[in-house]
Point group: C2
């Protein structure tokens, strides 16, 4: 497989990346082409499409042997389903498939890049192919979706602790560690999807997510996600 | 890339395979797993999904160098578009992506096979991955589709010549060459999509398609496709 591009975004690590992205997500990813494929003509006409397919590589460094069944997080991580009935990254060919919204084709020092929203990709993910989304063959809104239809996957209400909100907002001005690069809306987009491992439900457990140059801590009580702390960190990309 | 399965259907060669399949196509393809992946558990739960994604290999034997632009048949084959704005098979990684309807998970001598409808794959195409279609992330019915939206792609009316129809129907009984394996509905499904190369429009030109064990000849006058001849051939698969 040839890597034609890399994804660049604020997700330094896996935790926090939406499992299957929301259609209206505002979380942006930049797609930067490798030198050989950094050719403006290869994108001619792509701006006419509102959505694109990304075919990309799962990062399976610690990948075990192929397993016929997997435990989807959506089923609480305790029910086994055939791998071809899931979108699990642990599969014979570790290729991911994601529909994203195309926001912009942008000229940069790295050639023309694509700005997309709604990608469930970690920063640095290799991209193997970009295809236009073609509604008449790809959109099947009434498709029956097996175990995915069975489980409810409610959004959480995001509640900011006072200190956390002040901390976040003050970074927007500038503090001794630099500017914040994350809007409150971005954080809420990430958090309402419930980033916890699906089989955990301890209201006292504190989780930490890094996105762009912020680290955020939260806990979850029922359907309420409470942001307990925000601080500035070095990492950012995009 | 690991080949996990092969597509089996009646399309001995490329001509006649729908370019992007119709959602309601009745043309069936059987997906037969290779020995290593012929494991019933790997399909557990798949019967709950009405549609699947196939990731498959384009047959690019005579593939040239990567070209930044291609000429989609849909645009009459004379307008160049960036390769990443098309579903053209001539692309850096020759991987096709098709949503198909899952009709049946069938037990056979070759293990459990999937019977799907609406695949735009030639007989023998290697399949790299099978993923469930998940409506909430994959179905975007209002997606804007660039040049695909610009062009009208009307269905043809299929008209059978008397001899051709009699020939076809008599094979259903049995003639000296054997049974017909193709229904008239199947032929009409294939033909109404206008299998001609997009840049040809000569009402006198006769085209020949082989599907399963029949060869059919036709010509096209305006929006009318006239079947001129049907005969029995040796080839069949599936």
């Amino acid at each position: 497989m040839i890597t034609i591009a890399y994804a660049r975004n604020g997700f330094a690590d896996k935790f926090g990346i939406p499992r299957q992205p929301l259609r209206d997500s505002i979380i942006e990813t930049k797609i930067v082409f490798t030198e050989e494929y950094r050719v403006a003509e290869a994108l001619r006409g792509i701006e006419g499409f509102s959505h694109l397919w990304l075919l990309w590589g799962f990062n399976n460094n610690n990948r075990k042997e192929w397993s016929p069944t997997v435990r989807p997080p959506r089923l609480g991580g305790n029910r086994r389903v055939g791998v071809f009935a899931t979108r699990s990254p642990i599969r014979p060919n570790p290729i991911g498939l994601t529909a994203v919204r195309l926001l912009e084709v942008r000229k940069t020092d790295e050639g023309q890049v694509l700005i997309v929203a709604g990608a469930d990709l970690q920063d640095g993910t290799p991209i193997y192919d970009i295809k236009p989304y073609i509604a008449y063959s790809d959109a099947i809104p009434d498709a029956k979706c097996g175990f995915v239809d069975e489980v409810d996957f409610p959004m959480l209400d995001v509640v900011w602790g006072n200190d956390a909100r002040n901390n976040h907002d003050s970074m927007g001005i500038q503090n001794n560690r630099g500017y914040s690069l994350v809007s409150r809306e971005e954080w809420e987009d990430i958090l309402r999807q419930d980033p916890r491992p699906a089989y955990q439900d301890d209201p006292n457990r504190i989780y930490h997510i890094t996105y762009k140059n912020e680290e955020l801590s939260f806990r979850v009580e029922g359907k309420k996600l409470i942001v307990t702390e925000v601080s500035c960190v070095k990492y950012h990309r995009y």
